[in-house]
């Protein structure tokens, strides 16, 4: 599975790691919904670190669609919430 960290590029992850990431991912969503800024930052960086640690970087010149997408490391809770709204960063036509 290819995972994109926005602004960083893509990594290739073995499917066996997905369950582990899924837990952090669900935690992150709960924290966004609960407006828990501190928890969000902690979990978000833990998730990114995990993806970087377990993933194998995909070369920049490779054009492969991502199965999963993660916001840029500097993204705030508000920004991620905005990204998750219907319009996201790239507005709908």
């Amino acid at each position: 599975m290819i995972v994109r960290i926005m602004g960083e590029g893509q990594v290739k992850l073995a499917d066996s790691h997905l369950a582990e990431l899924d837990k952090l991912d669900d935690e992150l969503l709960a924290e966004i919904n609960a407006d828990d800024g501190d928890g969000f930052r902690r979990t978000f960086h833990a998730l990114l670190d995990k993806v970087r640690e377990l993933g194998e970087p995909v070369p920049d010149d490779s054009l492969e669609p991502s199965g999963l997408i993660l916001p840029a490391p500097g993204a705030t809770l508000e920004e991620v919430r905005a990204l998750l709204s219907d319009d996201g960063l790239i507005p709908s036509p």
Partner: protein, 265 residues
């Protein structure tokens, strides 16, 4: 999976699919996205301008109210100087009402200023993002174009090399065949020279040779026959000589008899 990653992936894919419905070339999609981002940025900027305009309007109102307040204060002072305390009281109470409005407007002004600053910051950050997207987009477009070109070059090159390979094979085959023929010719020459092989070449010349051989062979046969006859003839006289007198005598008798018969002597 239902967390952030999945939802973001779904949002992006939905957008990508929508975009791809219109344009299959990813470069066009990227350009389209960039266009949309620019429009969004324009909206944010317009929002900033709207907030700034409201702020300005508030400032004007505030100035007017401050002016009126100062005017009422002066009027109150004048009324008091003229001994009209009632008028002074009226002026001051109106001024107090205005001050309340000024205070409310100042609060609104502060809020608007904060909003404006936030929006300006957001616009700046969005501008940076759009700029970064533009750079990334151009990079991706260049990479895509390069990849396309590379594929085309690769195909062309492999095609050419395949053809070259075919030509090479043909040359190789021709060379092999020539070498084989040369080797065979050499071997035949050697075999002919060594006498292991009969030379069947130049048959016309050999016809003559064969005829000559035949003729000479025929002559030989004749000669041989005569020789054998002579031998036989010679052989019988010698046999007679070996076998001795009886025969000789017989012969002699015969010969002597016969010659004798015809012997004139």
């Amino acid at each position: 999976m239902s967390g952030v990653m999945k939802r973001m992936g779904m949002i992006f894919r939905a957008k990508a699919n929508k975009a791809l419905d219109r344009a299959e070339d990813p470069r066009e999609t990227l350009d389209y996205s960039y266009q949309k981002q620019l429009e969004l940025l324009q909206k944010v900027r317009r929002g900033v301008a709207d907030v700034a305009t409201s702020r300005k309007r508030l400032e004007l109102q505030l100035n007017q109210l401050q002016g009126q307040s100062t005017k009422l204060e002066d009027q109150g002072r004048k009324a008091l100087a003229l001994g009209r305390e009632d008028l002074a009281r009226e002026a001051l109470s109106r001024r107090a009402a205005l001050q309340q409005q000024v205070s409310d407007l100042e609060t609104q002004h502060t809020t608007l200023q904060g909003e404006e600053e936030k929006l300006t910051l957001a616009a700046q950050r969005l501008q940076a993002k759009v700029d970064a997207f533009r750079t990334k987009k151009e990079t991706i477009k260049a990479t895509y174009t390069a990849a396309q070109a590379q594929t085309r070059i690769g195909e062309a090159f492999s095609g050419i090399s395949e053809e070259m390979g075919d030509v090479g094979m043909a040359i190789q085959r021709a060379e092999d065949k020539t070498a084989q023929l040369q080797a065979r010719a050499g071997a035949i020459d050697e075999l002919l020279a060594s006498g292991a092989l009969d030379d069947h070449s130049g048959l016309a010349k050999d016809d003559i040779a064969a005829e000559l051989d035949r003729i000479s062979g025929g002559t030989d046969v004749e000669l041989e026959l005569q020789r054998m006859k002579a031998e036989l003839a010679g052989g019988s006289s010698s046999q007679q000589a070996i076998e001795g007198g009886a025969a000789d005598r017989q012969d002699d008798a015969q010969s002597s008899g016969t010659p004798n018969k015809f012997d004139k002597s």
